[in-house]
């Protein structure tokens, strides 16, 4: 608790942020073509259209939430199936790998053509981008059980379901949180890329950036970037705090408080 109010905890990142903002302002002022918005311009833009940025954030957040959530549920269920039935893994893993090595940018427009210009393709793109890390981490997590503990449960004739709930699932939690930390920024990339290709209807922050780009509205671009960064930071913070609570028993979850 006291840690939150300590100067040596808060000061370094605040100073670093200050230096960054200063550098940004210097570049913006000295850059002749006016391709970079100044700090005041950016914040005026935010202050003058709070509604736009709020609504866009909500849309983007919704895409991240739905995409991430659906992807996780499907990936985890698939990982459970793969752990128990080897043939499922052999059949589907190559497909998952193929999906993963294909760049989002390449198939996002195709998905838009297929699913229309609404919000559906954005969910799908976001979900696909984070699917593989979720799948692999779930798989590794579910398998990373203590061999002796597994032996013990076997001698008790624990059912597969009991082994899953009482041993595999808790053992996999550190891996799932590690996956969440990787997938969160990835999902923001997915959502923004999807919006780039579907701009127009139901604008998210990515749509704001792409239409501002067309109108050469430089401050709007920078404002949207700032909001995206803030969004990503807040989401990451939520995951970290959740991890500390849930993984209090785990070395990674109980770092200095």
């Amino acid at each position: 608790m006291t840690r939150a109010f300590r100067l040596d905890v808060w000061l370094p990142p605040v100073v670093a942020l200050g230096v960054l903002v200063l550098a940004w302002q210097l570049v913006a002022v000295h850059e002749p073509a006016h391709a970079v918005a100044t700090v005041p311009e950016t914040f005026f833009e935010l202050a003058h259209h709070p509604g736009l940025y709020w609504r866009s954030s909500v849309v983007t957040l919704q895409e991240i939430g739905v995409g991430l959530g659906a992807s996780f549920v499907v990936a985890f269920a698939l990982a459970v199936a793969m752990v128990h039935v080897e043939i499922v893994e052999r059949a589907l893993m190559p497909l998952a790998v193929a999906l993963n090595v294909t760049p989002v940018i390449a198939y996002a427009p195709g998905l838009v053509l297929l699913l229309g210009f609404g919000i559906a393709p954005r969910y799908v793109v976001t979900a696909i981008v984070v699917f593989f890390p979720f799948l692999v981490n779930s798989l590794v997590g579910l398998r990373s059980v203590d061999a002796s503990a597994l032996d013990l449960l076997r001698t008790l004739h624990a059912s597969r379901r009991e082994v899953l709930w009482r041993l595999r699932l808790p053992s996999s939690l550190p891996y799932l949180f590690a996956a969440a930390r990787i997938c969160l920024p990835l999902s923001v990339v997915g959502a923004v890329v999807a919006e780039f290709t579907t701009s127009g209807s139901n604008a998210g922050l990515g749509s704001v950036i792409s239409s501002a780009n067309q109108q050469l509205d430089v401050p709007a671009i920078y404002a949207a970037i700032i909001v995206l960064a803030a969004l990503g930071l807040v989401l990451t913070l939520v995951v970290v705090l959740l991890e500390r609570r849930v993984l209090a028993w785990h070395p990674a979850g109980s770092r200095p408080r």
Partner: protein, 268 residues
């Protein structure tokens, strides 16, 4: 319990004969220790008795039941070499684990003479009454191992199979836990098959010491330990104890020396 059991492991360079025609009978309420050089198949023997590994040939029975059936009926208590405590559970929750899985087979009701006992009582009897709500990571190695033993006693299995449960502990802790285990055991009189590398440990605990020889794993001698119970730490100073200890050491030496090459074991 085991009659002419053989087991070999296939590996890249041919098969390793881990157990060759091993027979072993353990009477009810007996404490029998297996001792032998590393790699002589002690763990394999225990895992076969626990139903974790199938023997290639021979018969295994846990008081008339196939090991897998015995597991299904929760008649087997297994204490692995590492404590294997679940780090997200508290000490008390860890000890409750055997009661929570495979509930159908949990015998009796709390308070029944032969049935399960309150996990907190067992832990208290084992000197762990103060740490019920701690997590395993907060305990010393000795305490963790005590929790693992308490976990095996909690559902009152017919047979306890213990694979070098004290091998990770320092000598002093080992000696203390040894007699704590004997105390707990004397109140239950569970049948125990115990694997160890320590001769004094084997003699202090057991009714009989089984000496095994390596490559292939065979039973090379059975040394009865006729020292009256209850035994305390002082027992190790008696002449009887010393004599039996000397005999086990001698048998171990001959066992290690006679370990010929197994016919099935390919030379490189």
């Amino acid at each position: 319990m085991l009659r002419s059991v053989s087991k070999s492991y296939e590996s890249g360079r041919g098969a390793t004969l881990a157990l060759d025609d091993v027979s072993l009978v353990v009477g009810r309420a007996q404490f029998v220790t297996i001792i032998g050089p590393s790699g002589c198949g002690k763990s394999t023997l225990l895992r076969i008795a626990a139903g974790l590994v199938r023997a290639d040939s021979g018969e295994v029975s846990i008081f008339g039941e196939d090991p897998r059936v015995a597991c299904a009926n929760k008649h087997i208590g297994f204490v692995p070499q590492s404590p294997a405590l679940l780090p997200w559970r508290t000490v008390l929750e860890n000890v409750r684990l055997p009661l929570q899985v495979n509930r159908r087979a949990t015998r009796g009701a709390p308070g029944d003479a032969g049935g399960l006992r309150d996990p907190a009582d067992i832990l208290a009897a084992f000197g762990l009454g103060e740490v019920l709500d701690k997590r395993p990571a907060q305990l010393s190695g000795g305490m963790q191992q005590r929790v693992a033993i308490a976990r095996a006693f909690v559902f009152d299995p017919a047979v306890l199979l213990m694979d070098e449960p004290f091998s990770a502990l320092d000598e002093l802790t080992r000696e203390v836990i040894r007699y704590e285990l004997l105390d707990l055991w004397s109140t239950r009189r569970t049948t125990v098959l115990f694997v160890t590398h320590s001769v004094p440990e084997a003699v202090a605990l057991s009714d009989a010491v089984v000496v095994m020889s390596p490559q292939p794993g065979r039973v090379s001698a059975l040394v009865p330990v006729e020292i009256p119970r209850p035994r305390g730490e002082l027992v190790e100073l008696t002449e009887d104890f010393r004599a039996i200890e000397r005999r086990v050491r001698l048998e171990l030496r001959t066992a290690a020396g006679s370990g010929g090459r197994a016919p099935g074991r390919g030379e490189q």
